[in-house]
């Protein structure tokens, strides 16, 4: 599958058309659980966490990307996040991942003269991310 039509929604804002790259990470903390007598390390999995990294084409036009992201950062709002591999309907071939997140860091302006204005954000999960096929 060529990744060209990912669907990313923050609350009611479909920001897909700003997305240059998207990476959804999920991770479990590992806790050592080996004891005397073990010849191999043993681990158990602890707390889970997730992040969504987005590289975005920036826009300062009214109602466009910067005006969407700024209040998420400034107000510390909890954001309802949805991401799918394509914008097609959710299905077994096009699952969706949903969860709540916050935006703890935002770089509204970065770059050199002549660059396309862009910004990279990492949404940090608050609670679970859930995979669904319907």
């Amino acid at each position: 599958m060529i990744f060209k039509d990912a669907y990313v929604k923050l609350d009611s804002n479909d920001i897909s058309a700003y997305v240059m790259s998207a990476t959804l990470n999920t991770e479990s903390a590992t806790q050592d659980s080996h004891t005397m007598g073990d010849n191999w390390t043993e681990v158990e999995l602890g707390l889970k966490s997730w992040t969504l990294e987005l590289e975005l084409k920036q826009s300062f036009t009214a109602s466009e990307l910067d005006s969407i992201l700024w209040p998420y950062f400034n107000n510390g709002s909890t954001i309802a996040v949805e991401i799918r591999p394509t914008s097609s309907a959710v299905g077994s071939g096009n699952p969706k991942w949903t969860g709540n997140a916050i935006l703890p860091a935002y770089t509204p302006l970065q770059g050199s003269v002549g660059d396309l204005a862009s910004t990279s954000i990492t949404l940090t999960g608050v609670g679970a991310v859930t995979r669904a096929t319907s």
Partner: protein
């Protein structure tokens, strides 16, 4: 904000931006014959599709040509040089970037470089020319 993304309209508007320069003929396409001095939109030499998801943004690289008669070699250089000034009334850079949205045809543009300053043959006739590269972003949303 959606743009037309129409190559023909982009050609028209690039020529229209430059038409503000006195004494410079403009052509939105390569003409059969060239009356000099002339600005010619050669066309998109490169189109990068899908700079963002959902067909949001494409990047186009347009090549344009400045052409002057070589009948008098020194005058040809002076003619071309005047249009290559980095600012001022006759500046190609300034004229092309006077409306960086090309009247809505694109999201933004930048004249990135001038190169290939030298002789060129068009329809069997030698001219002095310089190539102008214009980077254009189109918002398809």
């Amino acid at each position: 904000m959606s743009n037309t993304g129409n190559i023909r309209i982009i050609r028209e508007q690039l020529a229209a931006n430059v038409a503000t320069i006195d004494g410079l003929r403009t052509h939105q396409e390569i003409p059969e014959q060239v009356a000099t001095p002339a600005f010619i939109v050669l066309g998109p030499k490169e189109i990068d599709f899908d700079k963002t998801m959902a067909r949001g943004t494409d990047r186009l690289l347009f090549d344009c040509l400045l052409v002057a008669s070589r009948a008098d070699a020194r005058q040809a250089q002076r003619t071309i040089d005047a249009f290559l000034n980095t600012k001022g009334a006759g500046s190609i850079k300034a004229a092309l970037q006077d409306d960086t949205t090309l009247n809505g045809a694109c999201e933004d543009l930048r004249v990135t470089r001038i190169n290939d300053y030298g002789a060129i043959e068009i329809a069997g006739v030698m001219y002095l020319s310089a190539r102008i590269e214009v980077e254009i972003y189109v918002d398809n949303t």
